[in-house]
């Protein structure tokens, strides 16, 4: 992946994201003139289509990758719409439609656990506005004041005359009305919710059970060709040459394409033939300077940053170094965490069809507007003549966000086959070799305890790679990259540290590598929670204080963090006896506007084999739109987090990744999945994220339980590399 390309993508993506401003003031619910055709339904306004059979089709702008946002957003709209939940369907709008309608559906990007928390307000107003229009249409028809009509489950009633009608019957008249000013709408008190806040079944399950769901990988178009692709295995390396003659005459092969300066593709009638031919194609690479890099060289590069004098002081309160020096007890440790791959089950893929004045792509994307921008920029076709048909993702986890490298590659391949759709699929090996990995880091920590065992000073120095520096170096002038300190902020709201330490110094030394990095479910809360929560555990044990009590003593000014920690401790029966050989660990952290805590029950065998028996996770995400899907996300975060804790590590040798499939890059399987209990403790006074927050506490809770079992702290990952006993 070319860094310049990804930077341009970011800039273009941002330009599209700001398109609403560039194109004039958008109307909140669109206008009838620009209404999208809706089959036999009527577009009441941009968010809601009503069909003659009273089915309400709710338009969805965010991407669905398993996290349940499609269902959650539909619940919020339906709640205000007062329609019959049994007759709710959803429809994904496209970025081209959004652009053409001045971004009436708002932002489409789906990452940072923002799908619901940053769109709940306007989607609910959309539901309410449609309800008001439908009621007005019924009142107009009956010639009664709108205040005299009411609605329940899509049936409108005029009580005085006993008349009834349904949404399906008045939708056409409603669509001709001017939508109300969204600011004039009073939203329901969440205490009165009947659809939102309830454990509704997902709306998108049926076609996942019988093979009929069409993922981007499954797209089939008339005359379609297939492409297999290989980029230089060394990051930053270049393509020198390939010997096309060696695969000439192979069945089905239509051509070899130089995709960009580091990548080659073989195009054939089927993907298997393309992939087989690619494997037989002799390729010469210029591996470049990166080829001298390895896990060992990268580790020493980071290690140097742990002690170097120049570092960014993110938080500097009191005199941490002095307080630690003068403390009656001092502890120190160095932690490290590796690069990790996303390994979405559906490998990267993209289908593109280019003609003289039109560019189309079929893709799984977390940011379909960035996909549109990449399609336009790479093809040279103006934005308004481009369209992205987005497919629900076979996993995202941050991989399919802003970069859109696969869209650019697929466009470059399709350029060689005008008018012909070309589907590019990465092999699993390519997917593992060219990810945007979770950044690598190390952390040096020191703490001082007074003679009562209280924490008087804490000094943390993180040395590691910056995501922002890879995406856009201008964002991190002088190494001041707050994003890498996620979870340690003083200010409340998004990712606040839940402890008050009288003398606190948190520093960051940016140490970038040649490996591309990006957001990975939970992003920097993962590593930062391990550093903070495992070292706090070391401090608690050095103080001789119970792990929960030691934390509570630091949390007096953070009641929400504390309440969630207490909820996890209570459900996890902290302090009560366990079966012989089973030990507990605890952790808490904040990210994505939500508060998380976990208790893990773990045993370590005489051979050092770790078994996680049970995990309790508590979450305060403010409002809980669908408790069952929140539980599903929590359960999933445990599997994703434990995969990383036990097995996750992308090793670098000779400048390239070495573990390129699931035989070497192991995954947690069902047999290793602990029993997960989810405790949702919503406080109903904010909107927090759900998909990412809880993963941060999974690993530290387990590592702290291992510490309890073995008496030794775990300071590096993954566990498979360690001899625990």
């Amino acid at each position: 992946m070319n860094q310049n390309l990804s930077r341009r993508s970011f800039i273009v993506g941002t330009a599209v994201a700001g398109g609403g401003l560039a194109l004039g003031v958008r109307l909140p619910f669109g206008t009838p003139a620009e209404a999208k055709t809706a089959g036999d339904g009527v577009e009441v306004h941009a968010w809601v289509v009503v069909k003659p059979d009273d089915t309400c089709v709710i338009r969805i702008a965010r991407s669905e990758m398993g996290q349940g946002t499609r269902t959650g957003l539909a619940q919020l709209v339906a709640e205000e719409l007062e329609c019959d939940w049994k007759k709710v369907a959803t429809e994904s709008i496209t970025p081209g439609e959004n652009l053409a309608r001045k971004r009436v559906w708002g932002e489409m990007s789906t990452g940072g656990s923002r799908g619901i928390r940053t769109s709940h307000d306007y989607v609910r107003r959309g539901g309410a506005a449609a309800r008001l229009m439908l009621l007005q249409a019924a009142a107009d028809e009956w010639k009664v004041p709108v205040g005299e009509v009411s609605v329940a489950s899509g049936v409108i009633t005029h009580a005085a005359s006993g008349r009834k009608t349904t949404y399906g019957k008045v939708a056409a008249a409603a669509a001709k009305l001017t939508p109300p000013d969204p600011k004039s709408i009073t939203l329901k008190d969440p205490k009165d919710w009947k659809i939102a806040g309830k454990p509704m079944k997902r709306l998108d399950t049926a076609d996942k059970l019988n093979g009929s769901k069409v993922y981007a990988l499954d797209v089939r178009l008339p005359g379609m060709l297939n492409a297999a692709i290989k980029a230089c295995p060394v990051f930053g390396g270049k393509l020198v040459s390939y010997d096309e003659t060696r695969i000439a005459g192979r069945p089905g092969v239509r051509g070899v394409v130089k995709v960009n300066d580091s990548t080659v593709a073989v195009v054939a009638d089927t993907w298997w033939r393309a992939k087989s031919a690619l494997e037989a194609l002799p390729i010469v690479w210029d591996e470049g300077a990166g080829a001298s890099q390895s896990s060992a060289t990268i580790a020493s590069h980071l290690e140097e940053g742990l002690t170097v004098s120049e570092a960014y002081a993110f938080r500097n309160e009191g005199d941490a170094i002095g307080a630690i020096q003068g403390a009656s007890k001092k502890i120190e440790a160095v932690y490290s965490t590796p690069f990790l791959a996303h390994a979405t089950m559906e490998p990267m893929n993209c289908t593109v069809k280019l003609s003289a004045d039109r560019a189309e792509c079929w893709v799984a994307t977390q940011n379909s507007e960035a996909s549109l921008a990449a399609l336009s920029e790479q093809s040279g076709v103006p934005l308004e003549k481009c369209e992205v048909y987005r497919h629900d993702l076979g996993g995202g986890f941050g991989r399919r966000g802003g970069n859109q490298d696969y869209v650019r590659q697929a466009v470059n391949i399709a350029k060689q086959f005008p008018g012909v759709p070309v589907k590019m699929i990465w092999s699993r090996e390519e997917d593992m070799a060219h990810d945007f990995y979770r950044p690598i880091s190390q952390c040096k920590l020191a703490a001082g305890l007074d003679d009562k065992g209280s924490l008087v000073g804490l000094h943390m120095r993180i040395s590691g790679q910056s995501i922002n520096a890879f995406v856009n170096p201008a964002m991190v002038a002088n190494g001041k990259d707050d994003r890498q300190l996620q979870g340690y902020t003083a200010r409340p709201g998004d990712a606040q540290l839940g402890y008050t330490v009288p003398n606190l110094l948190i520093e960051y030394a940016m140490r970038n590598t040649h490996v591309p990095v990006g957001p990975w479910r939970g992003v920097n809360t993962n590593q930062n929670a391990v550093y903070m929560e495992c070292f706090i555990e070391e401090a608690a044990r050095a103080a001789g204080t119970d792990s929960l009590e030691f934390r509570r003593a630091l949390m007096g000014q953070h009641p929400k963090h504390l309440a969630v920690l207490n909820a996890a401790a209570a459900k996890g029966r902290w302090g009560t006896p366990l079966p012989a050989g089973v030990h507990r660990g605890i952790a808490q952290f904040m990210g994505y506007g939500s508060y998380s805590a976990a208790v893990a029950e773990v045993s370590v065998s005489g051979e050092g084999k770790v078994k996680v028996h049970r995990m309790v996770l508590a979450l305060d995400c403010g409002h809980a739109v669908n408790p069952d899907q929140i539980a599903a996300q929590v359960e999933g975060s445990v599997a994703y987090g434990l995969t990383a804790a036990f097995y996750g590590e992308c090793k670098v040798e000779n400048g390239r990744m070495t573990d390129l499939n699931f035989d070497r890059y192991q995954m947690l399987r069902l047999a290793e999945m602990p029993k997960v209990e989810t405790v949702i403790v919503p406080t109903f006074d904010f909107w927090g994220g759900v998909g990412e927050p809880t993963i941060s506490v999974v690993t530290p809770a387990v590592l702290n339980a291992i510490f309890a079992a073995t008496g030794k702290p775990v300071r590096s990952l993954p566990l498979k590399n360690l001899k625990l006993v």
Binding site: Q67, V214, D663
Partner: protein
């Protein structure tokens, strides 16, 4: 050229004999419910039944499949999503992204054919497909529901 019996229909497929059954099913037969995940029989997204046995189709060459071998894919498990495993999966809202679930369902259906009331240990041993969304807890519960051990 090979003949494959897929979901009860004989299909002629034009492929080299070393083509994996997975890709013949997806690209020649045109049934895309069977997924590609790893290509090395590690993840199980490509799981199908051949003569009732669970098979990871990404490592089975078409040349090794006889025209009489009965291949069943997710599309052929039932005509109306009415297999007990599919019903249990729906009842417990098992899928998240859903990409691996064809393989998970085929693995569970094969398990229940051999062991109609599997224990947790038997589920552990049989259900080794990868799910990155982490639906394992619900998969386990849904296998028990499909077996009639638990109510949904």
């Amino acid at each position: 050229m090979a003949k494959l019996n897929v979901n009860g229909k004989i299909r002629d497929v034009q492929v080299e004999p070393d083509t994996p059954l997975l890709w013949a099913i997806r690209e020649q037969v045109g049934l895309t419910g069977t997924k590609y995940g790893c290509g090395v029989a590690q993840c199980g997204a490509c799981s199908v039944h051949v003569n009732g046995e669970l098979v990871r189709s990404c490592v089975v060459p078409v040349g090794g499949v006889k025209p009489t071998d009965k291949i069943v894919t997710i599309e052929g498990l039932s005509s109306t999503s009415s297999h007990p495993v599919q019903k249990a999966w729906a009842a417990l809202d098992v899928p998240q992204c859903g990409y691996c679930q064809s393989g998970q369902i085929m693995a569970a259906a094969a398990l229940l054919r051999k062991k109609p009331k599997p224990t947790d240990q038997e589920i552990d041993d049989a259900m080794s497909n990868v799910c990155r969304c982490g639906t394992y807890q619900r998969i386990r519960a849904a296998v028990h529901v499909a077996a009639g051990r638990k109510q949904a």
